[in-house]
Subunit: 340 residues, 2 copies
Amino acid sequence: MINQDNGISLNTLQEAVEEELMKVVSVVREDGTEELHHMLAYHMGWEGERAGPEARGKRIRPILVLLASLAAGGDWEHALPAAAAVELVHNFSLIHDDIQDNSHLRRGRPTVWVKWGIPQAINAGDVLLNLAFMAITRLEETASPSIALHAHSILQTTCLKLTKGQYLDLSYQSRSDLSPQDYWPMVSGKTAALLAACTELGALVAGANPFLCDLYRQFGNHLGLAFQAQDDLLGIWGNSAFLGKSTESDLAEGKKSLPVLYGLSLNGPFARRWRSGPIHLEEVPEMAAQLDSEGARQYTQEQVARSTSLALQALEDAHPTSVGKKLLSDLATALLYRQG
Amino acid sequence: MINQDNGISLNTLQEAVEEELMKVVSVVREDGTEELHHMLAYHMGWEGERAGPEARGKRIRPILVLLASLAAGGDWEHALPAAAAVELVHNFSLIHDDIQDNSHLRRGRPTVWVKWGIPQAINAGDVLLNLAFMAITRLEETASPSIALHAHSILQTTCLKLTKGQYLDLSYQSRSDLSPQDYWPMVSGKTAALLAACTELGALVAGANPFLCDLYRQFGNHLGLAFQAQDDLLGIWGNSAFLGKSTESDLAEGKKSLPVLYGLSLNGPFARRWRSGPIHLEEVPEMAAQLDSEGARQYTQEQVARSTSLALQALEDAHPTSVGKKLLSDLATALLYRQG
C-alpha cells in the first residue's frame, strides 16, 4: 500500500509488527493450552488452512501507530508494544463480532466460532483482549512510567468506547427510527475510536506534548470516520457489491450503513421498500441505483471528503516530520480511495 | 459472614465497595446507552426484578482485597479501586460463563443472555472487563506510579490466567481421559488466580514489600483452591444437592469436579456408570453415596484441609495486623465451613 520511501520500508514495519504480535500471543502456549494458542494463531492468520498475508488482514492499525510515532519524531521500534496492543484489540472485536453477526467467513476462512464453537470463541476473544492489555505493559521497557500509565489509560478508554459502539450497532438492528445522526456515535465508537488511539499512542510514545498528541488523536479520529463512510459506500456501490455479487452488498444484509440511514430519513421510494421487508438478491442493483438517485451516494461521498479534509488538517497542524507526513498521507489516500 | 469487630464494620466495607462499583459502572450511562447501563446494573444486582443483596452475590473478592490491605497495615479506602476491579473481572467472567454453560439462572434471576440475547450479553461481559481495567486506574489517585503499574500488571496476568482456565474447563467437557491432576491447572486459573490477585493487590496497595506481597498472594491462591474444592463437595454432598433437589447436584449436570475426577481415576463402579451416559435425576442420591463409598468425599475433604492449612500458614508468615488477621481468618472459615 505504501512504497519503500525515505529509507523506511513498509515491509520492515510489517515484519516487526508480526514478530511483536507473535511474541505477545506466544505467552498463551503452555502445556495443555496448545489448542488455545492454535485458535489464536489461526485467527491471526499464522496457522491452519490458507494461513498467510491474505488471512492476516492489512494490519492498518499497528502500521498507523508506528507511522504516527515516526511523524511525531519518535523511534518507531519503541512504539511496537502499542502497535501490537491495538491490533489485538481489533482482533478481539472481530472474533466477538463474528459470533454476534452470525458470520461464517472472515478474510475468506471459516470464523473461529464456526471451527471451535461459540463458547470457545467467546473465550478466545477474551484472551486477545487480555493480551492487548498485556502487550501495552511492554512499553514500560522503553517509556517512562507516566507515559506507560497514560498509554494504559488511552487503551482502556478506547476499548470502552469500542464496546459502547458495539452496543449501539447491535441495538440498531431492531430499530426502524434511525437517522444519519444516529450513525456518528456508533461509528465513533466502533471504528474511529481505535484509529484515534493508534495515532495518539504513536505520538505519545514519541514523547509528543499533550497538545500535539491531541492533534494526532484528531487525525486518527477523522480518518476513522472517513474510512467507515468509505467502507459503507463500497458496501453498496463498490466493485464487488455492485458489479460483482449482490450477496456481498450491504443492502442484501440489511446493514444500517450511512447511505441507508440517509435514504431512510428521506422517507422516499427507497425507505418505503426497505421498511416493507428484507431486500432480495435480485433487487439489489435496482435498490442501489434508487438510493443513488435519492442522493445518498453523494451525501456519503461528501461526508468522506469532509472527514478526510479534517484529518489532513489536523495532521498538518501537528507539523509532522516530512517522512512521517508522506507515509501517513499515502496511507490515508490508499485507505480512502480504495475500490474494493 | 463477619461480625463487626475491632472498630471495622464489614457493613462499612461492603457499602464502600458497592459505591465504588456503581461509580465505575456509571461511566457507561450516556445519551443512547442507558439500556447498556441497565444491563450491567441488572447483572450487578442493582436494578430490575428482585434487585438487592441476594442478587449481588457475596462480594467476597473485593472484601478480600480490603481485608488484605488492612492486614498488611494499609488504609482500606485506598484499596477500593482494586476491590472494584476484581469484582468487575469476576462479573465479566460470570456473564460469559452463563452463555458458555447455557445457564438460564444466576443468583436466582434470569441471566443477561436470557434477557437481552447472546450478542448483547457477549458485549456486556466485554464492557465489564474493560471497566475492570478502568477501575484500577483510579489507584493512581493515591498510589505511586510504580504501584499503579504493578497493579495493572497483576490484573492483566490474572485475567489471562482466568481465560486459560476457562479454556481448560470448556475443553474438559468433551474429554473422558481426565484425572485429578488435570483439575488443579484448571481451578488455579478459573478460581484461585483471582483470589490470589485479591490478596496480593490488597497488600501491594498497602505498600507491602515484594516478599510480603507474595505471601499474601499465596494465601489467596491456597484459599481459592480450598474454596473451589469445598464448592465441589457441596455440589455433590451439600444440603441442596444431596438432601434437597437432585437437579442442583453437579452429578446431574455432568460437571467434572474434583470428586468426579477422583472417582473416574479409580475405574470402579462409579466410573463405569458415569462413562455409560448422563446420570438421571433419580440416580443422583445413589451415585453420590457410591462416590462417597469409593473415597472421593474423603479425598476432597483432605484437599480442602491441605489447601486451607497452606493458606493459613502463608497468612501467619506475613505477620498481619491483628485486626486484619482476625477478619481474614473469619472470612476463610466462613467460606470453607459453609454448608449450602
